[in-house]
Symmetry: C2
Subunit: 242 residues, 2 copies
């Protein structure tokens, strides 16, 4: 079962470190981080070969320079973390960040429209932002911020995002009271059922948690603890070696 | 002394309810609020005659319709709450929200540039955003998010914002671990020394706290508890009546 010791051990045995790294979106999104922190995060991303490094929008250009030729994509966030900016602003952000070198773009959906039952507005926002991101040749991830949603709202939001062609359903911003849960990852994976990936994020700080999320159906892990997770994974492998 | 019982009682005696109301920026910025919550907040804003009602950017147009002719300004937020979007995006937001009817615009400064010691970048961001907001004929408020700043950083940020012509220095977004303190309000009031107002925000939920902030030098109170503060103020007045 996902999250069980057995499912984690199985992944420690079967997953290569480079494969795990390519499932990790390493993240530096603290508002009080420094440019020095950015340089360190870029070094980590290159050392382990993460899928992407997520940086604050104003640092995309700098990160793109530092990561050039490394195979690590620059990612950034749109309408973050509250999702309540107009679609027009989200689209402007997407274009601006792609122009500066971002390849993966995570936007927060309009939670208020969802909560207000205005599903037409909710869908239009998702559709226009996804279309803009894909037109730019970037990967589109919709952050649902599941901490604020009922079960029903999670299902509606995920279904609409998949219908509108999202590349990844993402659980959390990391700025809500809680982050990814195994339950939510399993729910999103079931709804995506192969048509979209699932990015588990928010509060994932150790290898066991990352692996449990993967066993539950996550295809990408968003975390500011990418380096620690890789080191812990290498130790787990040592321990299980015959 | 600011915050003392005596200073609060003095304000209860001297301040008219309508004067207090005109110092309050009533606020609805929860990501999980509904359109129904917006209608309620508009009713409260009209009933008490607040200075402004702050709403999520995508609802500015709706709020402007609901508040038309009421004397209550529509306010909204830019680069909120993390402040790490590029200046160009902040300026785009300002123009978009003014066009939709916002009259007061609070933007979060680039905390990362400040923390990284890149004061030129920090100043340029503030200068361009303030210039854009004033060109639009709107009131400009710079959110410093003091919870994340050292004393020295607070002073530097406040001085630069005042030099660049800000209308109000604002303490907090309400999304950091802590909000306005009397200490910070006094510090900002000293630096502003009449050249800018001071907006105390974050965690102000009762009349005594609002009045203590005013005694400390705040000229505007940002709060989602505007209605409660007014009701409590009216009760405090009853109690002190000779």
């Amino acid at each position: 079962m996902a999250g069980s010791r057995a499912s984690i051990d199985e992944l420690v045995r079967s997953l290569k470190p480079s494969e795990l790294a390519k499932m990790i979106d390493h993240t530096l999104l603290k508002p009080y981080a420094t440019v020095e922190d950015l340089r360190r995060a870029c070094e980590e991303a290159k050392r382990y070969g993460f899928a992407a490094l997520y940086v604050p929008p104003w640092l995309v250009e700098e990160a793109a320079k530092l990561l050039e030729g490394s195979g690590v994509n620059v990612g950034t966030v749109i309408g973050f973390p509250l999702g309540f900016t107009p679609t027009k602003v989200k689209v402007f952000e997407a274009r601006e960040y792609a122009r500066r070198g971002a390849k993966e773009l995570d936007f927060v959906v309009n939670l208020m429209a969802l909560k207000s039952g205005d599903l037409e507005m909710f869908r239009r926002d998702v559709a226009e932002v996804v279309a803009a991101i894909k037109e730019l040749g970037c990967v589109a991830k919709a952050i649902l911020e599941t901490a604020y949603l009922s079960e029903e709202e999670k299902v509606i939001a995920a279904r609409i995002a998949v219908e509108e062609g999202i590349d990844f359903l993402k659980t959390s911003t990391g700025f809500a009271p809680s982050g990814a849960t195994l339950h939510d990852v399993m729910l999103l994976a079931k709804i995506a059922s192969g048509r979209a990936g699932v990015k588990a994020s928010g509060g994932i700080r150790h290898a066991e948690d990352a692996l449990a999320m993967i066993a539950a159906g996550a295809t990408r892990i968003g975390t500011s603890s990418g380096a620690r997770i890789m080191e812990e994974f290498l130790k787990l492998r040592e321990r299980l070696r015959p």
